[in-house]
């Protein structure tokens, strides 16, 4: 079944911000800093004097208050334009020109932005040591520092009394997003309101935030998003577009960012580290788990505290243990901000936990699947995050399916001797876990979807305030409504309506679309059918129970009778379906990777990916499979090549797609996919989320596969060839053995010391 948005996208008729902004418009650009931390001013006079420049704005043109770029809420730590640059690329102003050539020349002018650098926190180590404060809003550079689970003393005692213990430490580089559509925003004044073209994943929330910030009605115009992956789960440059348009008398201004800005200064998957300590018995059963997540946030919170929290949640929920404690921190620095990025900390968490459990399995002589089966959460377990009873836990079934269908009996992580030749192969397994709703007991997740009957054309329009960024919510909503109304998809349209009167939905994030928004659509479709039948029954003067829609959707008729009412005779109808849930809808899965490692160069080829997921009731098999195929390749990039390499001054080496290496089509691997047959456990549709689960375990599976190939699991993401070559060299010199701490011998784990040392050097 083709996607409902397929043809418009093929033809280029699906309009993104820069396509949809009404022409003619003024050409806008951001004015940004280059220093990591500076007092900064814009020489507006010199810039405004350049040919073709219409307006230059900076913080002196702004009376609006500070705000949080996280549309869900958070500390108001961001200015529309700052007078203190807090990271290279921080936004200090904006400029509008009559044509691109004039804009380009003004931006190239020296002296337009005057920076006075001050001491900066230029590494995570700087942030943690807090001798330099990255953002005065955050004393000691602490953006967040929280714990959950058992008290630290309880965990320490449980770890100390466990027969065996393993500690590991994994670090992560920040990684830019690489969505194809660079962030852009346009604005114009329309009589009584601002019209805004925004690339946000959360149009309804951003509209409400803009209303509040400007104390004026703002209308978000519908646009497609050229990928989001969490990087557009923000209010970012929309306020700048409004201020710039205001300075241009309300004319339409389009601010486009550059790929360089997207790569060096926008939002990144968080760098940082995760330390795990696990106590277990000789059967490999976990007895106590201690989790410590430290992420570098950059100077602003944005999503960072939530991402660090979700990383810890994911780490905790992947495996059960009677005693679990977690701490998660987001640390302020003066480098590129971290942001939401598909997996929302889950990739880092899964990498740390899955390489950790593999090491324990190997030390005990257990195969990876058996080891995981002994620790995977089951129905009735207490959720380590919120204490709720866990249900619908199907991780064990995913593992069993993997074992039955794909894996030969016996250990799969058998280590090959390095003497065997240049190319080594290995297979790695990783569990994944993600939610299907942004919900908890105290904050239910709620979605509304409207369905409109257009009687004249006998068509249905679905209205949602969710943005379509490729994730497939619109195709899924169309499919759901099509099934419920037995109406061909060619007669269904999906419309974005983020207005105050529109159906409220917080947007696209948290893998919530299929479950929460999808359920609201199903309910809306049912309500529409009921409303149509009721109206027809009135016209036919019969009981509604006797009325049905005829299969070709031209009319409604009395069952077993002759009388009909044409759909065109019905009044226009609009119903709103709502779904609310407090259940996060945890969805487990298992991912498996086969790799070949070139031990001479450290290059890794991914030969195959296997992905088995519990996505509840499968709504659209091919759509879900497509999601996994894409996530597999994005996961390969996260595993092997995507990173921000920081210079000593806090700037980023990678400037664009020539250096920020997202996978090309030569990097792809065959992907085998299976979904569990599942009874409906969540929502109205029974669908669970997949968007994030589909990527979370890929780097971990690749890391474990490399471990199987070379006998050492890489301790840092991404696993670049140079890092791996160094690890192979070290492995040759001193084959790695995992020394588990025995209660009697009390020998410390040494597995990670070397890497930890390297990382601490980086911290310094």
């Amino acid at each position: 079944m083709p996607r409902i948005d397929a043809w418009p996208k093929v033809k280029g008729q699906a309009h993104y911000v820069a396509d949809a902004a009404p022409r003619p418009f003024l050409f806008g650009a951001l004015l940004v800093t280059t220093s990591a931390h500076c007092l900064v001013s814009v020489d507006k006079q010199i810039l405004a004097a350049q040919p073709g420049i219409i307006a230059v704005v900076d913080h002196t043109d702004v009376t609006e208050t500070r705000f949080s770029t996280n549309p869900h809420g958070g500390p108001a730590d961001s200015h529309i334009f700052t007078s203190t640059g807090l990271h290279p690329g921080d936004i200090v102003g904006a400029i509008a020109a009559a044509d691109r050539g004039a804009l380009k020349r003004a931006l190239a002018l020296n002296g337009g932005i005057v920076e006075q650098p001050v001491a900066a926190a230029l590494s995570l180590g700087d942030g943690l040591q807090a001798q330099v404060i990255a953002n005065e809003r955050y004393p000691f550079n602490v953006i967040s520092d929280q714990r959950f689970g058992d008290p630290p003393a309880t965990v320490t005692a449980a770890l100390d009394t466990a027969p065996m213990q393993h500690e590991s430490f994994v670090s992560f580089d920040a990684a830019p997003h690489g969505f194809m559509e660079p962030v852009a925003a346009a604005a114009r004044w329309a009589e009584d309101r601002w019209e805004v073209w925004s690339p946000t994943q959360c149009p309804a929330l951003v509209r409400a935030r803009l209303d509040h910030l400007f104390a004026t009605r703002c209308q978000l115009m519908p646009v497609y998003l050229g990928g989001g992956f969490g990087g557009k789960e923000e209010m970012s440059i929309e306020p700048a577009a409004i201020v710039l348009s205001r300075a241009c008398g309300g004319q339409t201004v389009l601010i486009e960012t550059t790929r360089q800005q997207m790569t060096t200064a926008y939002r990144a998957r968080h760098g940082g580290y995760i330390r795990l300590n696990t106590g277990f018995d000789d059967a490999g059963v976990f007895l106590a788990r201690d989790i410590d997540v430290v992420f570098e946030a950059g100077p602003y919170n944005g999503h960072s505290s939530d991402v660090a929290s979700n990383a810890a949640d994911t780490a905790a929920r992947l495996y059960r243990a009677p005693v679990v404690a977690a701490r998660h921190r987001a640390v302020a620095t003066n480098r590129m901000p971290g942001g939401g990025f598909r997996g929302y900390g889950g990739i880092q968490a899964a990498y740390a936990v899955e390489t950790h459990i593999d090491e324990i399995a190997e030390s005990l002589g257990l195969d990876p699947v058996t080891m995981r089966l002994r620790n995977v959460p089951r129905d009735g377990d207490r959720d380590p995050v919120n204490g709720a009873l866990m249900h619908g836990m199907r991780g064990a079934e995913c593992l069993q399916l993997l074992q039955e269908r794909w894996l030969q009996p016996g250990p799969t992580a058998a280590r090959l001797s390095l003497a065997e030749g240049r190319f080594k192969t290995g297979r790695g397994v990783a569990m994944v876990m993600a939610g299907s709703a942004a919900a908890g007991a105290e904050h239910p997740d709620r979605a509304e979807v409207a369905c409109k009957l257009n009687p004249d054309t006998a068509t249905v329009t679905i209205q949602t305030s969710v943005a379509e960024a490729g994730q497939g919510t619109y195709p899924l909503l169309a499919l759901t409504v099509s099934r419920e109304l037995a109406l061909d998809q060619s007669r269904i349209a999906v419309e974005n309506d983020a207005s105050e009167q529109g159906p409220h939905d917080p947007g696209m994030f948290g893998s919530r679309g299929a479950n929460v928004t999808g359920s609201a659509a199903m309910i809306a479709a049912i309500l529409l059918r009921v409303a149509m039948i009721k109206e027809a029954a009135l016209l036919l003067a019969v009981d509604p129970e006797q009325v049905e829609i005829v299969p070709d959707w031209t009319a409604l008729r009395v069952r077993d009778g002759e009388e009909t009412v044409k759909i065109s005779e019905l009044p226009p109808l609009r119903v709103v379906g709502a779904h609310e849930t407090s259940d996060p809808g945890l969805a487990y899965g298992v991912q498996c990777a086969d790799v070949t490692v070139d031990t001479h160069t450290g290059a890794v080829t991914v030969d195959r990916i296997i992905a088995i997921h519990d996505i509840g009731v499968v709504q659209d098999y091919d759509g879900a499979k497509a999601q996994i195929e894409g996530a597999a390749v994005q996961g390969i990039g996260a595993a092997l090549s995507e990173r921000a390499t920081f210079r000593g001054d806090g700037s980023v080496v990678e400037r664009g797609f020539l250096t920020h290496l997202i996978p090309t089509c030569v990097a792809i691997a065959p992907v085998d996919v299976a979904f569990l047959d599942a009874p409906p456990m969540v929502g109205a549709t029974g669908a669970k989320g997949l968007g994030e689960a589909s990527i979370i375990g890929i780097p971990a599976a690749i890391g474990n596969a490399i471990g199987a190939a070379i006998g050492r699991r890489p301790r840092a993401l991404p696993i670049t060839p140079e890092r791996l070559a160094r690890a192979i060299e070290a492995s040759r010199a001193a084959p790695c053995t995992i020394e588990l701490r025995d209660r009697l011998a009390a020998a410390r784990v040494t597995h990670n010391d070397e890497h930890q040392h390297e990382f601490h050097n980086e911290l310094r």
Partner: protein, 171 residues
């Protein structure tokens, strides 16, 4: 003021999607992609990187797929340009479009028109593509980035068109 800041006055004639255009080049570094989008409103040409690395802005220049963000407008004098929306009206383009749709070879869709252009250029130039040679096919698309699909379905779509087009791919 540097030399390139002096507005140029060169007049360029080119054909875009079958229509002749005469355009005054205002700045020597005016790029083809901006002319197509800003002046002609051809927003099926997308901008992803402006460094020739992503392929979103691909158009056919005299039958060859080129990233239009790297082509100076002044250098496009005398050329014939075709964008995705135009190519999709040709029989080969129709088949490519249908194959993309049937294979779900898009998610966010931002790279899709560029991919269509690349597919058209590739298949029109080499109608007898060995569809079994996946590596050769992938090689033709390595200048095009897609962040969503994982590429498999895009290559499947092109391969399918090649398979069904033997003998008439250039029509």
């Amino acid at each position: 003021m540097s030399a390139d800041a002096v507005p140029a006055t060169q007049s360029v004639q080119l054909t875009v999607n079958g229509q002749p255009h005469t355009v005054e080049v205002r700045y020597v570094d005016d790029m083809l992609v901006d002319f197509l989008r800003d002046e002609l409103g051809l927003v099926d040409v997308k901008i992803g990187c402006r460094e020739g690395a992503c392929g979103a802005c691909a158009v056919l220049v005299d039958g060859v797929a080129v990233t239009s963000c790297l082509v100076y407008l002044a250098r496009a004098d005398g050329t014939e340009i075709a964008t995705a929306s135009y190519l999709l009206e040709a029989p080969l383009g129709e088949r490519i479009g249908a194959a993309f749709v049937e294979n779900r070879a898009m998610q966010c869709g931002y790279c899709t028109p560029g991919m269509v252009v690349c597919a058209y250029g590739y298949l029109a130039a080499a109608p007898y593509v060995d569809t079994a040679d996946r590596a050769a096919l992938a090689d033709a698309f390595r200048g095009h980035l897609c962040r969503c699909t994982g590429y498999t379905r895009i290559l499947d779509a092109v391969s399918e068109v090649a398979q069904n087009s033997h003998g008439d791919a250039t029509d």
